[in-house]
């Protein structure tokens, strides 16, 4: 029987996340202490060695990312991406609400590695209460002296999914429209206020204290080799236990749904599961015996990313759901580049047409062409990923589309 | 300009604007200064009684009293000298007359200057430091500096400041007058001035005269002629009997228009050559139709001394003739035959008599044009003057005391009236008032009044008010704004029907340049 394996959430609800003292009692801030006893280069090596990969869309090796940050100029930034906007995702909120000090500690560890005392947490505007809590947690940590010279400021987003893209997030902190920048230059070289910046999300930062405390080898030994550690998942949709879990990354998707999740709600049959939020692929039942780690998911066209697991039972209307998702992307496109700005709108228009029984084969053909161009030619990940739900359902559930045509 | 326009965008680290509303009157230069500030972080100092657009971007804004320019410059120089910010090396190697200047400047500590100028001493100190400490500082001015009875003094003070800090002869520096009209530089270069032939060769200089006598085959007068303002006065007094006006409109542009009108009425003969029946042309005995810039070939010289081509795009309108042809025809009839086949042929003659244009020809001017001096055909032109030495050798400091403007306010005329231009119109409006969009956008004159003054006088925005000076009065629409000194009012001079120059002073001129004091008239403002 599959069990949770809690690292980040081990002390959930047992400690006050605002209190540094509580956190210290359960072993907190030891990692930072250790990190500060190391020279930055060794620290970065240690993190690299742990195999920690970003718990976001790209899954990039965290230590590697840090190693790209140049030694000069002196002003650098550590930015926490707390803009989880993928529908069905709330794991970073849970980590903050249960273990905020681990996030702060993780950011300070990163600060030591790259030589920065300037931290920003960019929290999505949907969580004003978490912002208040974080501000208290930071105040408490500063007061206790745990963070030393490292400063953290919280900035609040204002309802823009695209700000989860790291350069859009940076633009937003700078007070601009959240429009992603073209890359290169990457934030590691030219980020916030054109200074070198490391952007990682809450879950990534929160892993760091445990890696430092228990050692890189310990972390590398958990879960899948290529993507070690644990992953916090949130289960939504037609599932018996719609809640969050922390599991090792070699866990099978089937077990997530049927063991932890308690199976499809009402004992119905599974039609599809979408992993990683709205931009993830729809996985048919025949593919659920796959480990949830990043690379295995990518291999079946899905994305682990945000850790959202959205389950749909046999009664669900795929086309209607895709229509809704298409509307989401139309709403969230920043509007900067042509394929995404216009493409998300036309996708929604065509999906609406098909969903309301006015579509033709030609529309499906047009969707495919449009999806291909959006994936290949959009400026940022949003436009590139927006058609994935469409292409994956056209691959596995084309009959549902055909059934709705005129 | 001693330096070139593009240096204001790329090379100047500090730009000091005094008496120039650059974004309105030289918009493209204004853009460049703004970009330099926004993109490169150049420092900006703005001295103007009106809070002009660029004041918003300025590191220091000095809303000083009209006519107190010399005091402001002396105050800044006092700070520079006393704080040891002067460029000693430059002063020693490239200038003379420092001691006399420094002696006068010593009398203007920033507090004293601040009192005269009506600004904070701290701002004078800050401006002085910014200008003196930057790697390359450029000072730009326009008619706000020159149209005073002390206009020449003002310009000399400006040069003092540049000499004191070594801000001459290098990229991004210089003393840079921004000239208001497309070819005012060229008209001066070409000797359309009463004291010089082309390239500023004095008519009183025997050698120069001999050169022109030889070239032109006549005997020439060695007596300095009359300036424009003096001509009007002499006409009024009956000494000037005949006047030829080529494309000018003194009936709107000159000071004290009632006086101008009376003077023109007294002439025996007035000949006007123009493209419109201007207010001046209406007074003429004979009017000859010339052509506009779109219909002619030739060259203009811009404010940075760059000689550029003007190219004919369309034919003459109706029976109108090329202006150069009209001048040839008239000269021939006056008994001095002139005949050319083209403007290019005229230019070829100009180069032979004009050392600074000697190296230019139409082929060389084809692309970017050339800034003078360009003495030889293999010379690339001179974007920056005074690089190695000044024309006279060493740069001369002038010791200049502050003098009050000719008209000071009193009980009867308690407000200072100052005049200028709008972005949307040009000079006497002969062209822009006939450009549909421009005239529709700004169809009438206004008078800008500080909101506190307006409140005191119970004047509301948009109402018609009366402005009176010792010369006369006009009625204007009030524009109540905050960005102007409290006892200063401002109006435009483009509008013949509400002509600002009815109000201005023609009696007292700058003793050297003969420029009228358009920027300071004592006035009275009345609610109707």
């Amino acid at each position: 029987m599959a069990q949770e394996y809690r690292v980040l959430l081990e002390h959930a609800d047992k400690i006050n996340p605002e209190s540094a003292a509580d956190y210290v009692k359960v072993g907190g801030y030891k990692g930072l202490e250790k990190a500060r006893s190391m020279n930055p280069k060794d620290l970065t090596e240690e993190v690299k060695k742990s195999g920690l990969r970003g718990r976001g869309g790209a899954g990039f090796n965290a230590g590697m990312k840090w190693s790209f940050v140049p030694q000069y100029p002196e002003t650098k930034y550590v930015v926490c991406n707390f803009d989880e906007g993928e529908p069905g995702t709330y794991k970073d909120r849970i980590i903050c609400q249960k273990n905020a000090q681990a996030l702060l500690e993780g950011m300070a560890i990163c600060g030591h590695a790259i030589g920065s005392n300037n931290g920003y947490i960019y929290c999505r505007g949907e969580y004003p209460f978490v912002v208040e809590m974080l501000k208290k947690a930071i105040g408490n940590a500063k007061e206790s002296g745990a963070l030393g010279e490292f400063n953290i400021e919280v900035r609040m987003g204002a309802g823009a999914y695209v700000c989860g893209e790291e350069t859009a997030l940076i633009e937003s902190i700078e007070g601009h429209r959240g429009e992603p920048r073209f890359k290169p230059p990457f934030p590691g070289v030219e980020g916030l206020w054109r200074m070198p910046t490391v952007v990682n999300n809450v879950e990534t930062f929160a892993c760091l204290p445990y890696i430092l405390t228990n050692g890189a080898d310990w972390f590398a030994g958990i879960g899948a080799k290529s993507y070690p550690g644990t992953k916090v998942l949130t289960l939504t949709g037609d599932i018996e236990n719609p809640t969050y879990f922390e599991v090792p990354t070699d866990y099978l998707l089937r077990d997530v749904i049927y063991e932890l999740g308690g199976g499809v709600k009402g004992g119905k049959k599974l039609k599809a599961v979408q992993v990683g939020g709205t931009s993830g692929a729809f996985i048919p039942p025949q593919n659920i015996d796959t480990p949830i780690d990043f690379d295995s998911m990518s291999a079946i066209g899905a994305a682990l990313g945000s850790g959202a697991v959205f389950v749909m039972d046999e009664s669900r209307d795929i086309v209607d759901t895709i229509n809704r998702i298409a509307k989401f992307f139309e709403h969230e496109s920043c509007g900067q580049c042509t394929p995404c700005r216009e493409g998300t709108h036309r996708c929604k228009e065509i999906m609406e047409k098909i969903n309301t029984g006015r579509g033709t084969l030609k529309d499906i053909e047009n969707l495919k062409v449009l999806a291909r161009v959006m994936q290949k030619a959009s400026l940022c990940g949003l436009g590139q990923a927006a058609p994935i739900p469409i292409t994956s359902t056209l691959e596995h559930f084309e009959y549902e589309y055909l059934r709705k045509l005129m | 300009m001693t330096n070139s326009i593009n240096e204001l965008e790329n090379d100047a680290k500090c730009v000091f604007l005094i008496g120039t509303n650059t974004t309105e009157n030289h918009p493209v230069i204004g853009y460049k200064i703004r970009q330099n500030v926004l993109k490169n972080g150049a420092k900006l100092i703005v001295a103007d009684p009106r809070r002009i657009e660029l004041a918003e971007l300025a590191d220091v804004y000095l809303p000083f009293k009209p006519g107190t320019d010399v005091a402001l410059f002396n105050g800044m120089m006092n700070v520079i000298i006393n704080e040891g910010l002067a460029d000693r090396k430059f002063i020693e190697s490239r200038t003379e007359g420092y001691e006399a200047m420094a002696e006068v400047v010593e009398k203007y500590p920033p507090e004293v200057a601040a009192e005269i100028c009506g600004v904070d001493a701290a701002d004078i100190i800050k401006a002085a430091r910014l200008y003196a400490e930057s790697e390359a500082s450029s000072v730009c001015y326009a008619m706000g500096l020159t149209q005073h009875t002390t206009g020449t003094d003002n310009v000399k003070s400006c040069c003092n400041l540049a000499l004191l800090t070594g801000n001459l002869g290098k990229p991004g520096t210089g003393v840079n007058p921004l000239r208001g009209q497309n070819n005012v530089q060229g008209a001066c270069d070409m000797g359309a001035l009463p004291v010089v032939f082309t390239a500023y060769q004095a008519v009183t200089n025997d050698e120069a005269r001999a050169k022109f006598e030889k070239a032109w085959g006549v005997t020439l007068s060695g007596v300095n002629g009359l300036t424009l303002t003096k001509t009007i006065n002499k006409a009024y007094e009956g000494e000037v009997k005949g006047l030829i006006v080529v494309g000018e409109n003194p009936m709107v542009s000159d000071p004290d228009l009632h006086h101008v009108e009376e003077a023109l009425d007294k002439l025996d003969f007035l000949l006007v050559q123009d493209i419109f029946l201007t207010e001046t042309a209406k007074k003429a005995d004979v009017v000859l139709p010339g052509v506009s810039f779109a219909e002619k070939d030739g060259t203009f010289s811009n404010t940075e001394r760059r000689v550029q081509r003007v190219r004919k795009a369309i034919s003459n309108k109706g029976d109108a003739r090329q202006d150069w042809e009209i001048l040839c025809d008239l000269s021939t009839r006056l008994g001095y035959p002139m005949s050319y086949n083209s403007p290019e042929e005229i230019f070829e003659e100009i180069r032979t008599l004009t050392p600074s244009y000697a190296g230019m020809n139409y082929a060389r001017l084809e692309g970017t044009g050339l800034p003078w001096p360009c003495p030889a055909e293999d010379h690339p032109g001179t974007p920056i003057l005074h690089k190695e030495k000044f024309n006279r050798g060493l740069g001369l400091f002038h010791a200049i005391e502050y003098l009050e403007p000719a008209e000071v306010i009193n009980e009867e005329y308690p407000i200072i009236l100052t005049t200028g231009r709008s972005l949307y119109h040009y000079h006497t409006g002969t062209m822009t008032r006939k450009a549909k969009g421009l005239d529709e956008h700004m169809p009438e004159n206004v008078i800008q009044i500080n909101s506190a003054l307006a409140k005191a006088k119970n004047i509301v925005d948009g109402e018609i008010v009366k402005v009176t000076t010792r010369r006369g009065s006009i009625k204007l629409k009030a524009e109540v704004i905050d960005g102007i000194r409290e006892n200063v009012i401002f109006t435009y001079f483009h509008f013949a029907e509400a002509a600002a120059n009815v109000l201005t002073n023609a009696e007292v001129l700058d003793p050297v340049a003969g420029i009228p004091e358009y920027k300071v008239s004592a006035a009275r403002l009345e609610k109707l």
């Binding site: 590139q384 | 000239r179 032109w216 007596v223 006047l243 006939k434 549909k436 969009g437």
Partner: protein, 354 residues
């Protein structure tokens, strides 16, 4: 340091830091662009300039992608062509197709590229935005139903003029160009320089003064120097049937050394006085206080007679001349020559001081 790469089978060398767009153009490839403007900050957003680097999953926007050593680039691969066609079709769905009455007909990037890629119509349906604004200003026509959102106008407004009157408002498909509070230009910091018109690749921004007077292909352009202030900006007079029908500008510093194409409201929109019916077209002689048309001979003879009469009676210094800061050097030269050589007085001046 130079790097080597292969573009359409041709090996070229470019300095490190060169963008692919410049490298491709150097290799002779014709890369279409909308948002790219060499004088403005890079946007990388229209995605028209995408090219295919061999071995890369996605296409890259060549205007913002630095060339890398050893890259192999195809600028017209099937994927590239498909992407460009779809981008054009997507633009067409928001662009009001009124080419027959459009001021930019014949000088429009969208038209040119559709022609080049054989895009006759869009495969996508849908309505245009209805963003047309009847902006009451007399200079600039804003028809955002033709806008392709390249944002060059926004950047030119900020980076050339510095007026910062416009920006993008809203987001996604609803994003469009607007002043603060989506009002009229008159109520914004706009100074009507028309730099936005200069950079607009389509017909979204056009001159109201030139409207209806001539399409770009019908106009001849004559480069000359502006007649207004002393800055000496270069501009192009657009001529049709021997009449001035508009002003455009040349952005090449070689031909526009002072202003690089930038103009002000007077230069770009103040040219129509040339066509005014009030222009003088014949000499006039005043008789009994009224003007009557006269022949040149008559007018010049009368003028010469009067001037010579005064000179004889009162001497040359009883005559004076105001030359002009607005006529050419050649004409000023002749004017002072006339005064000095033909009349014999130095009484010549112009309004340099006024």
């Amino acid at each position: 340091m130079d790097i080597k790469l292969t573009i359409n089978g041709k090996e070229i060398e470019v300095p490190q830091g060169t963008m692919l767009l410049d490298a491709c153009r150097k290799a002779g490839a014709d890369i279409p662009t909308f948002c790219y403007d060499p004088d403005l900050k890079l946007a990388g957003s229209c995605r028209m300039c995408v090219v295919q680097p061999q071995g890369w999953r996605n296409l890259v926007a060549s205007c913002v992608t630095p060339a890398q050593n050893g890259m192999v680039i195809d600028t017209e691969s099937p994927d590239v062509v498909e992407a460009r066609k779809v981008v054009l079709e997507l633009m067409l769905t928001r662009h009001k197709l009124t080419c027959h009455t459009c001021e930019k007909d014949g000088d429009c990037n969208l038209q040119d590229y559709c022609y080049r890629y054989g895009v006759t119509e869009s495969r996508f349906e849908g309505k245009i935005h209805n963003l047309f604004k009847d902006d009451s200003n007399p200079f600039i026509e804003r028809d955002y139903d033709k806008c392709v959102m390249c944002t060059r106008c926004v950047r030119a407004c900020e980076e050339i003029t510095g007026a910062r009157a416009i920006n993008v408002m809203d987001r996604g498909y609803h994003a469009h160009i607007a002043t603060a509070f989506d009002g009229e230009l008159e109520d914004s910091p706009c100074v009507f320089c028309g730099q936005c018109i200069m950079v607009c690749p389509v017909g979204a921004l056009t001159s109201k003064i030139a409207a209806g007077k001539g399409k770009p292909a019908q106009n001849e352009k004559v480069l000359t120097t502006c007649t207004y202030c002393g800055t000496g900006c270069t501009l192009e007079l657009n001529v049709k049937n021997d009449e001035i029908v508009g002003v455009t500008s040349n952005r090449d510093a070689e031909w526009s050394p002072v202003n690089k194409g930038a103009l002000c409201v007077k230069g770009r929109f103040g040219w129509d006085f040339v066509n005014s019916p009030e222009r003088l077209t014949t000499p006039l002689i005043k008789e009994n206080g009224e003007f009557r048309p006269a022949s040149w001979d008559e007018a010049l003879d009368l003028a010469a007679e009067k001037i010579n009469g005064i000179k004889e009676k009162y001497g040359p210094d009883s005559l004076s001349m105001f030359s002009s800061a607005r006529v050419t050097n050649e004409e000023n030269y002749l004017a002072q020559k006339l005064m000095r050589a033909a009349i014999g007085s130095n009484n010549v001046d112009h309004c340099a001081r006024l």
